[in-house]
Symmetry: C2
Subunit: 366 residues, 2 copies
C-alpha cells in the first residue's frame, strides 16, 4: 500500500532516540500500545514505521517515518492531523518534511495560477513582481481608497490589504473592496499598468466565500488568506471553489519554530493552493537567517510532480534600498513586498512607490 | 474606546525588552513605522500600547499590551490574527493571556452546555465523567462498532472516536456513525447507562456541517473537533450552527510551547465553544508538569463573565490505576479519558472498562 514519508527533527539524548522515533510513528498512526492492536493487517499497514534515523545537520536527529497514505484522506486537515497533530505537543520535535505520492499531490492540486498566472494578471513579462500593503488598519474606506490610488499611481503590480484589515466597522469589506478597486482603476488609466488589488479575506468559510464572491464581482483576480488562521481545510475549500482566483498566503499564526518554514511555505501552503506565499525575509524585523529564506524560496519553486511552482514573497520590514540585493538573492521568479517603508514617505508615497517599482522592473539579473 | 489586554512572555536581554515590547504592540496593531501613521486618531486609538513590563515568574518578561477591541471583529480568526498572528513568528515570544471585555465574551458565547449539559446527556449526578477512545484507525465499521459495544458494556459515559479517525475509505463517516450508535444502543439497554457516542468531525466547513447534521440525525449529542486543525473560525461556526450539540475539543496541532496551555485550552477553546477541552495530563506520554495541568483545569472552570465553565479532560497515556490520584488532583468537575490502556486488556476490554468506570463513579472526593 502507498506510504507517505514524514521527517521530524528530534532533539533528545542519543540513548533515547530509538524509542522516541518509534513513539512518533505510533502516535501519528494508531496512537495506542502496539500490544493492544488486535488485527495483524493494522500492525502491518496502518501502524507508522520508522524508516530511518540520522544525525540532523543542525543538531539532534532526523527521523523519517512512513505512514499509510489512506489514513490521510486526502484532506488538508487530516493531513496535518496525521503528520503532526499530537506530536506538535512535544516541544523538542519539529516537522521538517512531508513526501507525498503523486496521486495525493494531484488530489490537492497546488496553485491554480502560479507565477505565470500572476504575471499575466498585471501584464508583466518575465520579471520580478512588486507588491505593497495598505496600512494602517483603522482608516476609513475613503482613506484606504485614496491611499490605494496614490500607491497605484506609482505603477505597482499588486496592492494588498494589510493582514490586520478584515471586516471591521471602520472599513467594512463590502464597502472597502469596490471603493479601492475604483480608486486603482483611475490610476491604471493614468499609468497604463494593470495594478491588481488583493483584498484580505478572513473568517469562517461562509464569510470567506461571500467575501471572495463579492471581490470577484468587482473584478478582483487575487485575494489574500492566512491559511493557519482560517484553517488549512477551509483555505483549500476556497481554492477549490474559486479556481479562477489566485491566492496570496499570509503567514499569520504559522509560528516560527515547530514546522520548518521551507515545508510550511514551500510545500504545505503550495500543496493546498497558495500561488504566492508571503514569508519573513532575512535582515528585516524577524530573525530568520538568509539560508532559511533560501530554502523557502527554493522549495516554493522546485519541480514537484504535477504541482505548479509558487512565487515566493519575502517581506517584513523591507526597504527600497535593498531591492537589488534581494533580487540578486531570490532571482526574477519572486514578488517583493514593501509596505511600511513606502508609507514613511507620507505625502510623497507615490514617488517612493514609483522608485520601488522602477528598481524592481529595471533590475538587471546577473 | 474598549481595549483588549494581551500578555506575552518575551525571553530577551533586559536592555532589549522596552523596544521588543513596543515592537509587539505595533506589530499586532498597525504593523508599520509609527512615523508613517498620518491620522492622529489612529495613533491614539488603534496603535497597540505597552501597558506593563514585569519579570515573568518562569524567566524573561511578561509584557502586557492593550489593543483596540474594534480591531478584533469579534471573529475568532481575527482575534487570533490580532493577538498573536505575526508575533507567533518570533521564537522567543509566547502568548500567555488574553483579557476580553464582556461584550466580546458574550458575542463568542463560550460553551453552550458545559459540564452540567454533559452530565445530563448521560444521566450522571455531580460526579466526574468517564470517557474512552475507539482505536486504532484502520478497523472496519463492523470492527469499530463491535469494539464500541464491548466498551459500552462496561458502562462508560462517553465513547469518542480516536482523533485519527476521519472519513477514510476503511470506515466512512456515514456508515460508521449509525453502526456505532446502534451497537452502543444495545449495550445501553443492558447497562441502563446512557453511554454517549462522540464521533470525530474534521475537514472543511461544508464537510463538517454535513457530518454534524448526519450525527444529529442518528441521535448523537456530542461531537469531537480539533479546532486548530479545522481553524478556530470554522470551529466557532459549528458551535453557532449547532447550538444543541456539545463539543469535545481535541488538542491536535496546538503545538506545545507558543500559546500557554491554560490560555489555549482554558480560555480560547472555551471562548469559541468547547464544552470539554482534551489536554495532556502530567505523568503520561507528553512532558507537561502537573502545575501546568492544574492551570489548564483551573482556567477551564474559572468564573468568566457570561461564559459557562468547561470540563477539563486530561488524557494521553493514562491508566486506570491512576484514577484516584487524578480525581484527587482535578476534583469532580472533570472528565477522565483512558484509551489505549483499556484496549491492552484485548478480549477482556469490557471488564477493564467496567473497572475504570467503577473507579470514577465510586471515588470518594476528599
Amino acid at each position: 500500500m502507498t506510504r507517505v514519508f514524514v521527517t521530524y527533527r528530534v532533539r533528545c539524548a542519543p540513548s533515547d532516540i530509538a524509542a522516541r522515533a518509534q513513539g512518533i510513528a505510533v502516535e501519528q498512526s494508531v496512537e495506542m500500545p502496539l500490544a493492544a492492536v488486535m488485527q495483524p493487517r493494522i500492525g502491518a499497514h496502518i501502524v507508522g514505521r520508522v524508516e530511518d534515523i540520522a544525525a540532523h545537520e543542525s543538531g539532534g536527529f532526523a527521523v523519517r517515518v512512513s505512514l499509510a497514505a489512506e489514513t490521510l484522506g486526502p484532506e488538508a486537515g487530516q493531513l496535518l492531523n496525521m503528520v503532526f497533530g499530537n506530536t506538535s505537543m512535544h516541544d523538542d520535535v519539529t516537522l521538517e518534511d512531508v513526501e507525498l505520492p503523486t496521486e495525493i499531490l494531484a488530489a490537492f492540486g497546488g496553485p491554480r495560477h502560479g507565477i505565470e498566472g500572476l504575471r499575466a494578471q498585471c501584464g508583466a513579462g518575465p520579471r520580478a513582481l512588486s507588491c505593497t500593503a495598505l496600512k494602517p488598519q483603522g482608516q476609513s474606506v475613503e482613506e484606504l481608497a485614496a491611499l490605494a490610488g496614490r500607491m497605484a499611481a506609482g505603477g505597482l503590480d499588486f496592492i494588498k490589504d494589510d493582514h490586520g484589515i478584515a471586516d471591521q466597522a471602520y472599513s467594512p469589506f463590502a464597502e472597502r473592496v469596490p471603493a479601492i478597486v475604483k480608486a486603482i482603476a483611475v490610476a491604471r488609466r493614468a499609468t497604463g499598468i494593470a495594478t491588481q488589488y488583493v483584498p484580505s479575506v478572513t473568517g469562517d468559510w461562509e464569510r470567506m466565500r461571500a467575501q471572495i464572491a463579492l471581490a470577484r464581482e468587482e473584478g478582483v483576480k487575487t485575494v489574500m488568506i492566512p491559511p493557519m488562521v482560517v484553517g488549512m481545510p477551509n483555505f483549500h475549500a476556497a481554492v477549490r471553489a474559486f479556481p479562477g482566483m489566485a491566492f496570496l498566503g499570509h503567514p499569520s499564526m504559522t509560528g516560527g519554530a515547530r514546522i520548518a518554514p521551507a515545508l510550511m511555505f514551500g510545500k504545505l501552503f503550495r500543496l493546498f493552493g497558495v500561488d504566492a506565499p508571503i514569508f519573513v525575509n532575512y535582515g528585516g524585523r524577524f530573525a530568520w537567517p538568509a539560508a532559511m529564506c533560501r530554502r523557502v524560496a527554493d522549495a516554493a519553486r522546485a519541480p514537484w510532480g504535477p504541482i505548479k511552482p509558487a512565487v515566493p514573497v519575502p517581506a517584513g520590514g523591507m526597504t527600497t534600498e535593498r531591492v537589488p540585493e534581494m533580487l540578486d538573492f531570490y532571482g526574477r521568479d519572486t514578488m517583493l513586498l514593501i509596505g511600511g517603508a513606502l508609507l514613511l514617505a507620507r505625502e510623497n508615497v507615490t514617488r517612493a512607490t514609483a522608485d520601488f517599482v522602477a528598481r524592481v522592473r529595471d533590475h538587471v539579473h546577473r
